[in-house]
């Protein structure tokens, strides 16, 4: 990740945009800063109090005075404790609040985007945007910024108290700082390189292991156990070596920090001792400085670590805002038509479509009409454009040429909600969610009653098998409905389409083999569902095709033939006729 100065302008924009999510908490943040300030003060005043205790009371034998100072010390200690806890908690509280809002906003945004966005971006990447990218901001938002401010305050107060007591000793004790800065800098740059190397080695090791667990049968079938073992040994060796190298840097750096802190103390004692002999520095001051020198090192180390956090947080927020800025390519009509009763007529007028300007046409000048109540079957090979027709009429994509009409009105003139609620969609992959059968049917719509669901299930004869499930309609499906057969899953999808009582039914018939008993059930269910509805079916079974009012034969984005079964069969050299003949010829030959 190389982020240099030219990104700084962009970074400030990012910070401003992050602030927008932060805004509701700004008074809390102000409170947090004030609390941080007080905690820094209470934490750093304690050595000063010990100085007073030693010089003004212990040295003079004033027991009562000592007691008072100890009480003050105790109050400062407890005060800092309470403030720190409270402060840490509120910063985390609003930090999590901001993350919560941000996460929901990203999810909402992604969900609202056009379907093509999902085709272009792998699901894994989208999940990363809603989860780990948000998480990367967590450290920064929950206590990163506040701690940074706290560290600065601490440094400021320590310097203030030290200077108040003795400027000479202050200079002496910060003498080692340049060395500390230099060695921290040296260490950071080395360790970064070493860590990158370690990361590569870990990745190499892990992918070897992953690969060999997945390919274990190949290893064994080819008698390669011994060779692979040797190979692993060398990868493992590289991994160990990489770690040993970072251990080296750490074993230099930590002692250096310790030595520098002690060195600063030695310098204070040496110089301060001499000053004490001249009665210019008291023992109390020496004691206070010994404590300050140790306290001073922590915030400096802290600050250098926070810088890295900030860098990776900015990188994540850049990715997050990229998503939030994505333009939705399917937008709502400005003044949507309020539909009266929809009859269910779908018409394509000279529709052409391609995903990108530089790609091939997926649909080429396609026109057809599905009359209300009609059964329209679409036949064609994979990639001929069948599914695209469906995607377009439901506005998963928008067309640039031609028009698509529902009851004579352009689909883009309806609101998306009003448009889509007329369609009952059953997809080929029979997508089910984890949850109960009931939830899978209603999709969480509280307006659909249990009775309606059962009624719909009876209609497509799914009721019988659902009743046999443990828990019936409350049977909890595992992920993607694994525990059900393909046919059963399809029936549930049918019920789902039915309870929404759509005007237009869209079926992408599954090719997946279901056993013959369920197949019959599915066919019967299909027939029932189509009654009184416009149905558009991507057909894989000849039985559906034969019963269709209209058949479209598609090939490479073109409608090659249109007509009823009877018309198409009569057409000489027709594609459909050829298909049909093939099927029956085979049968005739074999039976004959």
């Amino acid at each position: 990740m190389s982020r240099d100065s030219q990104n700084e302008a962009a970074d400030s924009v990012l910070i401003r945009r992050l602030y927008h999510f932060f805004e509701p908490y700004k008074y809390w943040a102000l409170l947090a800063v004030i609390l941080t300030l007080s905690a820094a003060f209470l934490g750093t005043i304690r050595p000063k109090l010990t100085q007073i205790a030693v010089d003004d009371h212990i040295a003079t034998g004033d027991v009562e005075g000592l007691t008072w100072i100890v009480i003050l010390l105790g109050l400062a200690l407890v005060g800092e404790f309470i403030i720190l806890i409270f402060n840490t908690y509120i910063t985390r509280w609003f930090g999590q609040g901001v993350l919560f809002k941000l996460r929901n906003a990203v999810f909402e945004k992604i969900q609202s985007l056009h379907v093509q966005f999902f085709d272009k971006n792998p699901i894994g990447r989208l999940i990363t945007r809603t989860t780990s990218d948000i998480e990367a901001l967590s450290e920064l938002l929950s206590d990163g910024v506040v701690n940074m401010i706290g560290d600065l305050f601490r440094i400021f107060f320590i310097l203030y108290f030290m200077l108040m007591m003795s400027w000479e000793l202050t200079l002496i004790s910060i003498l080692v700082l340049p060395v500390l800065f230099y060695s921290t800098f040296w260490f950071k740059s080395r360790v970064r390189v070493a860590f990158l190397h370690v990361r590569d080695q870990i990745a190499r090791l892990n992918s070897f292991i992953q690969e060999h667990i997945n390919g274990i049968s190949v290893v064994q079938l080819f008698n390669r156990e011994e060779t692979e073992k040797q190979k692993f040994r060398s990868i493992n060796q590289d991994h160990t070596d990489a770690h040993v190298k970072t251990i080296f840097y750490f074993s230099i750096f930590w002692p250096i920090v310790e030595v520098l802190a002690s060195l600063a103390m030695a310098l204070v004692v040496w110089y301060g001792g001499a000053r004490a002999l001249m009665d210019q520095v008291t023992f109390g001051v020496l004691l206070a400085f010994i404590q300050y020198v140790r306290q001073f090192f922590n915030p400096i180390r802290g600050l250098s670590e926070k810088y890295n956090t900030l860098q990776s947080a900015l990188a994540s927020s850049e990715r997050i805002f990229n998503v939030l800025d994505t333009k939705n390519e399917v937008y709502e009509a400005a003044l949507p038509v309020k539909p009266k009763k929809i009859r269910g007529e779908v018409e394509f007028q000279n529709v052409s479509f391609r995903y990108n300007a530089d790609q091939e046409m997926i649909l080429n000048d396609v026109s057809f009409t599905a009359e209300p109540g009609e059964l329209l079957a679409i036949v064609g090979a994979t990639g001929s454009g069948k599914t695209t027709l469906i995607n377009l009429m439901m506005r998963f994509y928008d067309i640039h040429e031609g028009r698509i009409m529902l009851d004579g009105t352009d689909v883009r003139d309806y609101s998306l909600r009003d448009l889509r609620k007329n369609f009952g969609l059953v997809l080929q992959d029979n997508a089910l969610f984890s949850g109960t059968v009931m939830d899978n049917i209603t999709l969480g719509n509280p307006e659909i009653s249990r009775e309606e669901v059962i009624q719909a299930a009876r209609e497509v004869e799914a009721d019988r098998f659902i009743r046999r499930l443990p828990g019936k309609y409350d049977y909890v499906l595992r992920e993607r409905g694994d525990s059900l057969s393909m046919g059963q899953r399809q029936l549930i999808c049918f019920v789902r389409a039915m309870v929404y009582d759509p005007k237009i039914l869209i079926l992408d018939e599954a090719t997946s083999s279901v056993d013959s008993e369920t197949e019959e059930l599915v066919s019967r269910a299909c027939e029932r569902m189509m009654r009184g509805r416009t149905s558009i079916v991507i057909a894989h079974r000849l039985s559906t095709i034969q019963g269709a009012d209209k058949i479209l034969v598609m090939h490479k984005g073109l409608i090659r033939e249109t007509g009823s079964h009877k018309e198409l069969v009569r057409r000489k050299d027709g594609i459909y006729r050829k298909l049909y003949e093939l099927q029956y010829k085979e049968q005739a030959v074999i039976t004959g």
Partner: protein, 618 residues
């Protein structure tokens, strides 16, 4: 009755302790190789702490001496004369140089400690990981089928890393805490017994608190991890069904579900934060309390003339030096628990029986294979399953014959062929090769006689050449080329810039499905097997190329047994015999024309394919 129960639990606890000890003993065996450097490291660490405590001692001595010199009421001139020419200056300089000397010694020893102790822990990690992989490569498929691959993966990665912490940080921190606390407490006691007790009073709480917090964090992080997965799972579910959600206008509902999980996450995270936010302030409070007590009690003692102000400074530094070792004690106990739990899991993998190895007691057959295979009433259940994946399979495959298996996905075809190279052993019945039970064959010999092309093509991320020569690392270039040619892959390879040295997989080019399958076929051909098994291995290859490959195979493998699983009629129709498998049983068998005449399952399948083919070819 109650007593019995007590006894029972006691003996249970005892046994548990006993196995814990056994585990630990085994784990400690890994130390023996590095005994020298570990002992040396412990010595360095002890020595470094020995020098560390001289720092406060020297500071106290300086302060005391300054006090004495100061009270002698001598008049000192300029700062310069004091520092560099007076007797007092000599004392100061001597003490300071001594201080710097000890500090440097301390630093060097600390360096040496890390270089020995932590480095050894990495070496132990290396050894353990090698052992785990050795074992893993030999484990039977049964193990992989009954354990999720993610779990196995964690054994070799995270678990090993956790066990390393036992040899590294745990050991280092423990020795550090013991020696440092030991030295410091002794020095404190020498100065003043009473003040020592007072100063140490808050420290046990610190240890206990650190133990509690780190334990809570460990436990709670699992809960949070789970909730995190729920969020990711919800996002996955929604994003992958986006069409459906849009079609049914359910976006708001999905948003509500997501926000519920998101809020749950926030709440759980906040609870963890609450505990975490206690940690540093409490540490601060307890150490601060210790310093406060020292100033208070020590101050009174100074007034009474029992100790000096130098002693107070000394104690303040001691307390500071004790902070981390004492806090780390609590943390270490938790890490130790986790490493031991990880070790237990690793150990159970290492002691897993390898039950599919060649029977040691019988005479293992190593003679050359002819290729006659017989299944005698074979049944098979997957581990952990009650249902038969195969049942009552009896078939006879003559040497040199060409056999096809067809049937739906999940009908048991792959399971059947997996039994031949003994990836699994049948639960019932027996399989014979050349009339001899499989178990009596030398396993390596058996497997080298079989060229198996699995359904899911698995290539390793290395060069194409290495992948093809996977079964015969000694194969010459022209042999590799010939195998590639026979698998109709040579032309593709020569199109690549680096030819046979092209990397495939993650770090290289992505081969198409068909290219991958052909690579796997070349890999199997190069072995020159007596038996060829193709498990739906040509599905991503177009029909023309498929024909070419099959013809090649026929020519080159004449006289060799071939078992082909396929969904394509075109692939299987020329087989000597076709078996139709359904739900683990053979329900139809015969030649293509025999099965077509029967007009049953095979015929249905045939018909459907003809229609689809025609649609493709319009």
């Amino acid at each position: 009755m109650n007593g019995n129960l007590n006894e029972a639990t006691q003996s249970f606890v005892f046994r548990k302790k006993q196995t814990d000890l056994n585990h630990l003993r085994k784990l400690n065996r890994y130390f023996s190789k590095y005994k020298g450097s570990v002992l040396l490291g412990m010595l360095f660490l002890t020595a470094s702490n020995f020098f560390l405590i001289w720092i406060p001692v020297l500071i106290r001595r300086t302060m005391d001496e300054v006090e004495m010199l100061g009270s002698s009421a001598e008049n000192y001139g300029s700062l310069f004369t004091i520092l560099f020419s007076s007797e007092a200056g000599a004392i100061l300089a001597f003490n300071s140089l001594l201080l710097i000397g000890t500090v440097i010694l301390y630093g060097v020893l600390l360096f040496a400690t890390r270089q020995t102790l932590i480095v050894s822990s990495r070496k132990v990690e290396f050894d353990i990981r090698n052992d785990v992989i050795d074992k893993l490569l030999r484990l039977p498929q049964r193990y992989f089928a009954s354990n999720r691959s993610g779990e196995i993966y964690i054994r070799t990665t995270e678990d090993v890393a956790r066990v390393r912490e036992y040899f590294g940080p745990v050991l280092m921190y423990t020795v550090n805490t013991i020696t440092r606390a030991g030295f410091i407490i002794v020095m404190m006691l020498i100065v003043n017994r009473e003040l020592t007790y007072w100063a140490l009073l808050p420290l046990p709480f610190l240890s206990a608190f650190a133990y509690w917090v780190s334990g809570f964090i460990n436990r709670y992080q699992l809960i949070i991890q789970e909730q995190y997965s729920k969020i990711a799972g919800k996002a996955q579910e929604t994003f992958s069904s986006i069409r459906l959600i849009k079609a049914f206008n359910r976006s708001e509902h999905e948003q509500a579900l997501f926000e519920k999980e998101s809020d749950e996450y926030r709440k759980k995270k906040l609870k963890l934060d609450l505990i975490e936010s206690l940690f540093h302030p409490t540490l601060n409070l307890l150490i601060g309390a210790s310093v406060l007590i020292v100033i208070w009690k020590g101050g009174v003692m100074v007034m009474d003339g029992v100790i000096t102000i130098g002693n107070i400074a000394e104690f303040v530094i001691y307390v500071a030096y004790l902070t981390w070792p004492v806090a780390s004690l609590g943390y270490t106990v938790n890490v130790l628990q986790k490493s031991l739990a990880s070790w237990e899991r690793i150990d159970s993998l290492l002691t897993q029986p390898v039950d599919i190895e060649t029977a040691a007691d019988s005479d293992t057959v190593t003679r050359s294979v002819k290729g006659e295979i017989e299944f005698r009433n074979v049944g098979f259940k997957y581990p952990g399953s009650d249902e038969y994946a195969l049942k009552g399979i009896s078939l006879n495959i003559a040497p040199g014959s060409n056999v096809a298996l067809v049937g739906r996905t999940g009908s048991g075809k792959t399971t059947l062929v997996n039994l031949i190279p003994r990836l699994f052993d049948p639960t019932e019945g027996e399989i014979l090769l050349d009339g001899i039970p499989l178990k009596q064959w030398n396993l390596e010999q058996l497997r080298s006689a079989i060229g198996y092309v699995p359904q899911e093509t698995f290539l390793f991320s290395s060069t194409i050449r290495e992948n093809i020569a996977f079964g015969r690392a000694d194969a010459k270039m022209d042999e590799v080329e010939k195998a590639a040619e026979q698998a109709r892959l040579l032309e593709n390879i020569l199109d690549f810039e680096k030819k046979f040295d092209t990397m495939v997989g993650e770090r290289g080019i992505t081969l198409s499905g068909g290219q991958k399958q052909r690579t796997a076929i070349a890999r199997a051909i190069l072995k020159e097997p007596e038996i060829v098994i193709l498990d739906d291995s040509l599905s991503a290859v177009d029909t023309k190329t498929e024909d070419e490959i099959l013809n090649h195979l026929k020519k080159n493998l004449s006289g060799k047994t071939a078992i082909i699983i396929s969904h394509r009629i075109s692939t299987v129709k020329n087989a000597d015999i076709i078996f139709y498998i359904q739900e683990g049983r053979i329900i139809e068998s015969g030649t293509h024309s025999e099965l077509i005449k029967k007009e049953e399952r095979y015929f249905d399948m045939y018909q459907k394919q003809m229609l689809e083919q025609e649609l493709q070819n319009i």
